[in-house]
């Protein structure tokens, strides 16, 4: 295995984030703090507890998920799209690197960035709400796998995109609405019966539910359903990436 090659890609991507620290770190954290202020402190103080959890604390897992999913997709998609855009992918393709190594480098960096942002938001949330995490180890694992899976998805988007517009279409028009409607700010049972069933078609519901379960021991769907769904989602992303590299789709001529 070309460990140095993986490390080079990983470090290069991490350095890119440090060069654009405001965009990479400050911006998502600030946005989440604003959510805490508006939904947690201002509106949340007038809301009833949900499953014996204050509304401010209740939205913490959803807000973390909202941010890390978007960040994972954005970081990974831009990470691989930019070399494609400026033409430097020739270096990756002509180097003694397997596709697995290239994916580890890019997805690893995007995962690290999103995971770090998730942890920073979690720490920040303690400034605004009282929070007890019931299953901290599970919570960290679930967060890490979510970051990795959405980074894989972002990597796919970055490869198949032909321009910056396409790069933004999936995150803006598909992932953002799904995340907002996936129960970040409410539980599914707060919806009318028809919309409850409809909401179950949203894959993000299972992820937010699983993550919320690790905080409070309760979720919209059973935890095993969330885990199985997460594994299926991850497997689909890995299979698509494997197909892309096997066929050279949008990478090799």
């Amino acid at each position: 295995m070309n460990i140095r090659g993986i490390h080079a890609i990983y470090r290069y991507e991490m350095n890119r984030s440090f060069r654009t620290l405001i965009q990479s770190l400050v911006s998502p954290v600030l946005s989440t703090i604003l959510y805490f202020i508006v939904f947690g402190a201002a509106i949340g103080s007038r809301m009833d507890n949900i499953s014996n959890v204050s509304y401010g604390a209740f939205i913490v897992p959803g807000l973390i998920m909202l941010t890390v999913q978007m960040q994972s997709v954005n970081n990974a998609s831009f990470g691989i799209y930019f070399p494609k855009f400026i033409g430097t992918t020739y270096e990756l393709l002509s180097a003694p690197l397997s596709f697995v190594e290239i994916v580890i480098g890019y997805v690893g960096a995007a995962t690290t960035k999103a995971f770090s942002i998730g942890l920073i938001i979690l720490c920040t949330s303690y400034l605004f709400v009282d929070l007890d995490i019931k299953y901290p180890f599970f919570m960290l694992c679930f967060l890490l796998i979510t970051c990795m899976t959405f980074s894989l998805l972002g990597f796919i988007i970055g490869i198949v995109s032909d321009n910056f517009e396409q790069l933004n279409i999936v995150p803006m028009l598909i992932i953002t609405p799904l995340v907002f409607l996936g129960g970040s700010f409410y539980t599914i049972d707060m919806l009318p019966p028809f919309w409850q069933n409809f909401a179950l078609l949203n894959p993000i519901v299972y992820l937010i539910s699983g993550f919320r379960w690790s905080f409070f021991g309760v979720g919209d769907v059973p935890i095993f359903t969330s885990i199985i769904f997460m594994l299926i989602f991850t497997s689909i992303c890995i299979s698509i990436i494997w197909y892309i590299f096997k066929t050279g789709y949008k990478i090799k001529n």
Partner: protein, 306 residues
């Protein structure tokens, strides 16, 4: 010299059914400079891309140092450095970081001494901490070469290395290429500048429509294909070529004041002596003689047209 690249029956067909490379065979010897000439779309870049791993192979076999470029891609790619045609660089990165990044992609340990030597050789040392975006086109071209050489490859592919660069920089590039050859690096370059091939290549390959039309030692090729022209200025004007001189296929010019005689230096006899002797016999006196040699460019155009 031993063979370092062996391309056997290579075919590259794109999804739109366009065949860019047609059953191409090519052997490249270690330590030589080979120039691949051909018009735009001839298949030169596609050939390089298949050897370096940028393009998939439809059929055929490519071996580098005796190893299959697909099965043993790690070992073969370690031997190769590539400078593509386009200036493709991360604009916001420092020169030195970009070169170090390339070296690590090839699995090599950091070697500051080697990288600094390389930058010095390419006259980039003073610019090592500059952001790539701030460099001139020529300097960026040098950074591309530095990146390609960062892992100390035995083979260097240069895809139109001097396209769009000024004459001075082009000459600098040629001296860099010659220096690399002296260090034992095998160099394969594609170019539109015939003068470039004439100046630095050991062998010349001509590609058109995805086929390798010929590959030959440069000197041999020029000798074999070169046609010299003898221009004879006459003391008295001729209306027609005299019957005795018809066998020389002379061409009257300047309203009969001169004629041209074409001969091949590669042949045992040029025919000049007998022409002059026959002229003397029939009383045609010459006033002056000039000779001109066909350039590699004219040879190239002739082969492509054929």
């Amino acid at each position: 010299m031993s063979e370092i690249i062996n391309v056997q029956n290579l075919v590259k067909k794109y999804d739109n059914n366009f065949t860019a490379v047609k059953n191409l065979n090519l052997k490249i010897r270690q330590g030589e400079i080979i120039a691949l000439l051909g018009p735009n779309g001839a298949g030169k870049t596609t050939l390089i891309s298949t050897i370096c791993g940028l393009s998939s192979i439809t059929s055929g076999l490519i071996k580098v140092n005796g190893l299959d470029v697909i099965k043993d891609y790690r070992k073969t790619r370690e031997l190769i450095g590539l400078v593509p045609q386009e200036l493709a660089l991360e604009p916001f990165e420092k020169v030195i970081n970009s070169v170090k990044f390339s070296r690590k992609l090839f699995g090599k340990k950091d070697d500051n001494e080697y990288i600094e030597k390389l930058l010095t050789k390419l006259q980039l040392y003073d610019k090592k901490n500059n952001i790539i975006k701030s460099l001139s086109g020529g300097m960026k071209r040098r950074v591309m070469i530095a990146k390609a050489l960062s892992h100390n490859p035995q083979i260097l592919f240069l895809d139109e290395p001097t396209a769009g660069v000024d004459v001075e920089l082009r000459k600098d590039m040629w001296s860099i290429i010659k220096e690399l050859k002296n260090e034992g690096v095998t160099i394969i370059l594609t170019t539109h500048y015939i003068e470039e091939a004439e100046m630095i290549a050991d062998r010349i390959g001509i590609i058109n429509h995805g086929e390798l039309l010929l590959i030959e030692e440069k000197k041999e090729l020029i000798k074999r294909m070169s046609v010299k022209t003898l221009k004879v200025k006459l003391k008295k004007t001729l209306d027609i070529i005299p019957t005795k001189l018809k066998k020389y296929n002379l061409k009257l010019i300047d309203e009969g004041k001169s004629f041209l005689y074409y001969y091949n230096t590669g042949k045992e006899r040029t025919g000049i002596t007998s022409l002059l002797s026959d002229m003397n016999k029939i009383g045609i006196n010459l006033f002056d003689i000039q000779t001109e040699e066909t350039s590699l460019e004219e040879i190239f155009v002739k082969i492509i047209k054929e």
